[in-house]
Subunit: 337 residues, 2 copies
Amino acid sequence: MTTIGGRRVPFEDLCRALERCLYPRGFARERARRCARIVAENSLVGVASHGLNRFPRFLEWIERGWVDPCGTPERVATFGSLERWDGHLGPGPLNAETCMDRATKLAETHGVGVVALRNTNHWMRAGTYAWQAADAGFVGICFTNTEPNLPPWGSSEPKLGNNPLAVAIPRSNGRHVLFDGAMSQFSYGALETAARRNESLPVPGGFGRDGEITDDPAEILASKRALPIGFWKGAGLSLVMDLLAAVLSAGRSTCELGTQDGEYGVSQVFTAFGPRLIGPLGAERIEATLTDLEAAGDDTSVRYPGERLCMVRERNLREGVPVDEAIWEEVRGLASG
Amino acid sequence: MTTIGGRRVPFEDLCRALERCLYPRGFARERARRCARIVAENSLVGVASHGLNRFPRFLEWIERGWVDPCGTPERVATFGSLERWDGHLGPGPLNAETCMDRATKLAETHGVGVVALRNTNHWMRAGTYAWQAADAGFVGICFTNTEPNLPPWGSSEPKLGNNPLAVAIPRSNGRHVLFDGAMSQFSYGALETAARRNESLPVPGGFGRDGEITDDPAEILASKRALPIGFWKGAGLSLVMDLLAAVLSAGRSTCELGTQDGEYGVSQVFTAFGPRLIGPLGAERIEATLTDLEAAGDDTSVRYPGERLCMVRERNLREGVPVDEAIWEEVRGLASG
């Protein structure tokens, strides 16, 4: 997001103005201060779409009762290094800040800490909380789901969320590495900012009302059919995965692998979440989501990731595994015993 | 990857042929059997590019000494629910299988288990190990780094790895959800398969030798300039993040949020990895990677994710935060106290 030339406001003035909107809306003094700072900081770092520009909507949601100014997060289950919390529909930024703080405490004890938070609200900017962890010296990863606003591949119906993800890798100079991106090429905040300025997007960002790919943000906002991520977001994601793998394993990074005569000695990360976490309710949720997803297309146009694999596997077990004749003969020539 | 019509081989025959290549190359019987099955299974599920078709190269790497048939992974550090292992340059598929198994054991005890593995080798297909976790009832996430084979955004020099990532969400019917994707739109395996068949890609996948975006896989293999992920990969990633957030938090999924009158009560996940894990060596690695990355462009064309944020923040603290005049006045009107 570039910023327009024009009016600038000192950071502390911005904080105070936001704070003063929160007092009369049921926020205790300290909570108003924390919440206002998080929102103002988003404008400060150049993401006004998730800062000041989103604040009127935040206030509106309080008035509608979707955000409870007094709601605070509560721990509802503990699984060792992972805890489940309920956000009680409190303000998203406050709930998120509390839960990332808790995740770092868990990580201090267990090496890794995960807090899964339900029943919370829009947190404004994903990067805020990953950055918070990095400022405390931790690798921070967080993501959220959203309402459906992105069509599955092969469909024009919004069934997926754009589910922002943030990954921060701390640096001792405080200039942390931060991947912060929604799963759409442009976040709705970014689309709104561009539309407000009558700017077109730097690359095509979604489908317009006529179903054609377009760089017109207003068209995409109208169709609710953004394109999934790619371009610099794919590149950014690649970088943070490399850093995570190398740092967590104390192993070689991609740039070190590039100095070798071949690709060996790589770094990998394996993560598992215990089955106790899922339970019958979780299993039901998964099925409901997949059913809903497939309803977005005709018989075969929308598939969940992995669906094709099972079908191919069954067919190949039955009919044999397709092989490239030349490679098959080569491998047979290399066999012995 | 579609498969060509033509020769099909029974799965067990394929396993045996691969196995018989491994015995004379220093693999103990049981290890040859496990390794051959993992590779054959990749062809079985329709990903021959990471199965049979990659096997001759795997054998070549053994002969070059890059893969040690007798190398086994060893735990080198423990941080509670996270362990660090050294792969001793053993066969990637065997090391990976062992480490994902260990991650599930850790998750049984701690709710979440992470194994970070260094000094290992190409694991063939990321999805194998996430699926392994899902088969055992766990949510499985794994990723690897690779040699540099993807240019950062704004550069034509390969500095990033395509770093495959797999996320599996278990289903009781065994037809798990599996996101399995490299951070390039097409994996090198997929590009090689398409090039071998003289097929063009379904969407543009990278830059050709002349610097233009192309759907010719041979051109992209020659330039080593693949495009980062997007299209169906972004959509798939979005789905698995939603399922993770909803299942881990026992909270609402995107499809449930879509039935509400507004976007409230969302689900989020916060993860932190302890600072002890990084240490001075990790910090050095991060700096070396960023330095290397920026060398891929001129002064400002290549930035690491988050770099701009710090610059903007400093400028805005100094000069004031740019505000949209209308919104600023609106918010000031909403303030009181």
